[in-house]
């Protein structure tokens, strides 16, 4: 069974045809529990997200700020396994028909086996993967298997990426390009700087692949601003924080659904 890279591209194209940016949400699997995590992914899609990235929690999330670190820690202490992550992808996709990607660090996949992971992710209906600590020059084996199984390989570009390197990265990536809005780890920020717009412009000069902006976006106002220059707006920590702060899961799910709705309004300008 082939993965849903085409569904991902179609979803981004549809948003573009509606003259808006796509809303991409991130939530870790297994948080606050495996079942609760599945419900959260469904809630964010029901609220208006177009695409979801399911986090595969890692013991050493060096690119994540305190909010996602805490969620990963809760998920791992709860015993989340890769099988649970794949089930989250399968159930979220089956229930909504939306494209679902996995975002994680390289060691869990390297250890699990690249062929095994890509085959199982494709079979679960997954659309691709974002692997922020797997740079393009180390990615040949991953890309070979991802392509074989119809999965997108989404690379991250950063404000520090030089133009020639942007060209190398976007030539190797598929699905969309993840443009980091700022130099830093995940987490909400008061403002999303001008660096993001400049990076999107530089990236666009190298590729026709959609460019989505992540890191720091947490509210409708920021989503609107980013949607003015990007093909997609990625929001993670703001959703995770709602679940962390909620007194119980139903309240948290409702808050996630409501924020997704506000952000979906934002990306429609």
């Amino acid at each position: 069974m082939s993965g849903n890279i085409q569904l991902l591209s179609d979803t981004l194209a549809k948003a573009k045809s509606e003259n808006r940016a796509a809303l991409v949400a991130y939530l870790p699997a297994g948080f606050p529990t495996v079942e609760g995590g599945i419900e959260a992914v469904k809630a964010v899609l029901a609220g208006g997200a177009d695409i979801v990235e399911v986090g595969l929690p890692h013991s050493d999330p060096v690119l994540d700020g305190p909010v996602i670190q805490t969620a990963d820690d809760i998920a791992l202490r709860g015993g989340v396994k890769i099988a649970d992550v794949l089930r989250t992808v399968r159930e979220a996709h089956a229930a909504t028909g939306a494209p679902v990607l996995v975002m994680t660090y390289w060691n869990p996949i390297d250890r699990y086996g690249v062929e095994r992971f890509t085959a199982e992710l494709a079979a679960a209906g997954g659309a691709g993967c974002i692997l922020p600590d797997l740079p393009v020059q180390e990615s040949a084996l991953w890309r070979e298997h991802a392509e074989k199984h119809g999965l997108a390989t989404v690379f991250v570009v950063a404000p520090s990426s030089k133009d020639e390197r942007l060209a190398t990265i976007t030539a190797a990536g598929t699905g969309f390009v993840y443009a980091a809005s700022l130099m830093g780890v995940t987490g909400t920020r008061a403002s999303v700087g001008a660096q993001a717009r400049e990076l999107v412009e530089r990236t666009r000069r190298t590729t026709d692949t959609p460019v989505c902006v992540g890191l720091g976006v947490s509210n409708a106002e920021q989503a609107k601003e980013v949607a003015g220059f990007a093909d997609g707006v990625i929001v993670g920590s703001a959703f995770v924080k709602l679940l962390l702060d909620a007194p119980d899961l139903p309240t948290g799910l409702e808050a996630v659904r409501a924020l997704a709705g506000e952000l979906a309004e934002g990306v429609r300008r």
Binding site: S59, N107, A158, V185
Partner: protein
């Protein structure tokens, strides 16, 4: 001073263009750090061939650090090792009290060349943090040190030293609250502040070029030891031994001996309460290949690639990874790696203190404990160099509790 004090590897054993020693190494880093890590590689390549850089570092190593460090024969200690001759390479006598200063001065000079004004570093036992804080004071650089919260408690003396030197010390409360988590937090800082900040990485792990560069800066240990043992004993040793956490003092001693194929290279990892208990940090003994902190090497991990929490009485060895060049030396069989328990290390610490009047760091005591066995295996004609990578002042609270040295305490009360 002469460039003999800083000699990049003349004999090969250079990583390939992608930063690999065999199957180990590479650069598994976020895109945001690619430009900065590349800049370090380019600047280091230029610096090591620049006579003014080599001269300035050589001068510091002699007139600031106090190199060459002594090679001390320890006959009363060796009586407990089957009578083999044992020499200690006295990195504990360097300024700041350990080998760490060798690498720190090199990278601090590099920081200045790159025009950066701020340095961050991780530390476990605090020795790398103290050395880094020292170099930052010397060169007028801003300094932030990340240290696991557990380590700030068991190495409180070094926390005070770093603060005295003007560094900010951040106690890291995430994960296992030890060295691994301090490195995670330092990487997060670097990603956010890379424009003006150099990450002065303290061991021979991390992304290329750090494993090769840090090794080059420590290579002076083995270069000196090789010359000294030829002068003193008239021949090369049968083995050179060192403790291995990330592996910097070990590779520093081993490297000059790699072409001497009759000299065994033996690294001693922390077995903690025993490898069989699961409470250890014996990465090469019990780990599997994987990626941690920017390179492929051996790591302690579970079946799904989650890094497992290490344990050692020694904060400096309490790390679930290992430098990729050690993984390569293991894979080729050139290096031998064994594990030493907390208890064996602590007994060796006390034995060296009472037979030779030298109090070693708990890290270095792992190599001493291993050397007792190695000496017996080599027999009376054996000749052995052990790297005494640091002094034990920082460990006196741990040792006093372990041995019941405080008034009213009984031996082993902390066990």
């Amino acid at each position: 001073m002469s460039s003999e004090f800083f000699i990049p590897d003349p004999e090969g054993h250079v990583p390939d263009a992608a930063g690999y020693f065999g199957d180990f190494g590479g650069k598994f880093i976020p895109e945001a750090l690619v430009a900065a890590v590349d800049e370090v590689a380019v600047e280091y390549d230029k610096a090591k061939d620049d006579p003014s850089f080599v001269a300035e570092l050589g001068d510091l190593l002699v007139n600031y650090t106090g190199r060459p460090s002594a090679l001390t024969e320890v006959p009363r200690f060796a009586e407990h090792a089957g009578g083999a001759r044992i020499f200690l390479k006295r990195e504990d006598l360097n300024h700041t009290g350990s080998h760490k200063i060798n690498n720190v001065l090199g990278q601090a000079l590099l920081t200045k060349r790159m025009g950066k004004t701020r340095v961050i570093a991780e530390t476990g036992a605090g020795q790398h943090g103290v050395a880094t804080a020292t170099a930052c004071a010397l060169f007028g650089l801003d300094c932030t040190i990340y240290m696991g919260e557990i380590d700030t408690q068991r190495q409180a003396l070094n926390v005070a030293r770093m603060r005295m030197l003007g560094a900010e010390v951040v106690a890291v409360k995430s994960g296992s609250r030890t060295l691994k988590d301090a490195i995670n937090e330092a990487f997060r800082d670097w990603v956010a502040n890379v424009d003006r900040t150099h990450y002065l990485f303290g061991t021979v792990a991390g992304p290329h070029p750090f494993p090769a560069m840090v090794r080059d800066f420590h290579r002076v240990i083995g270069v000196e030891a090789r010359r000294q043992i030829l002068e003193r004993a008239g021949r090369l040793p049968d083995a050179v031994a060192a403790c291995v956490g990330g592996g910097s003092n070990a590779i520093g001693l081993f490297h000059a001996f790699i072409p001497d194929t009759d000299v065994r290279l033996v690294g001693f990892e922390p077995a903690g309460h025993g490898v069989e208990t699961g409470e250890h940090a014996a990465t090469l003994t019990a780990g599997e290949p994987g990626i941690l902190h920017g390179s492929r090497s051996y790591v302690l991990q579970d079946e799904e690639g989650q890094i497992t929490e290490p344990y050692s009485i020694s904060a400096g060895l309490d790390y679930p990874g290992i430098g990729p060049e050690h993984a390569y030396l293991k894979s080729t069989g050139r290096g031998e790696y064994r594990a030493v328990t907390d208890d064996a290390a602590m007994q060796a610490l006390r034995l060296l203190s009472r037979t030779e009047g030298i109090i070693p760091a708990i890290e270095s005591a792992h190599a001493l404990a291993g050397a007792l066995d190695l000496g017996r295996e080599l027999g009376k004609d054996g000749l052995l160099i052990v790297n005494l990578s640091g002094r034990g002042d920082k460990d006196m609270d741990t040792a006093a509790r372990y041995f019941g040295l405080y008034d009213g305490a009984a031996e082993g009360e902390s066990k």
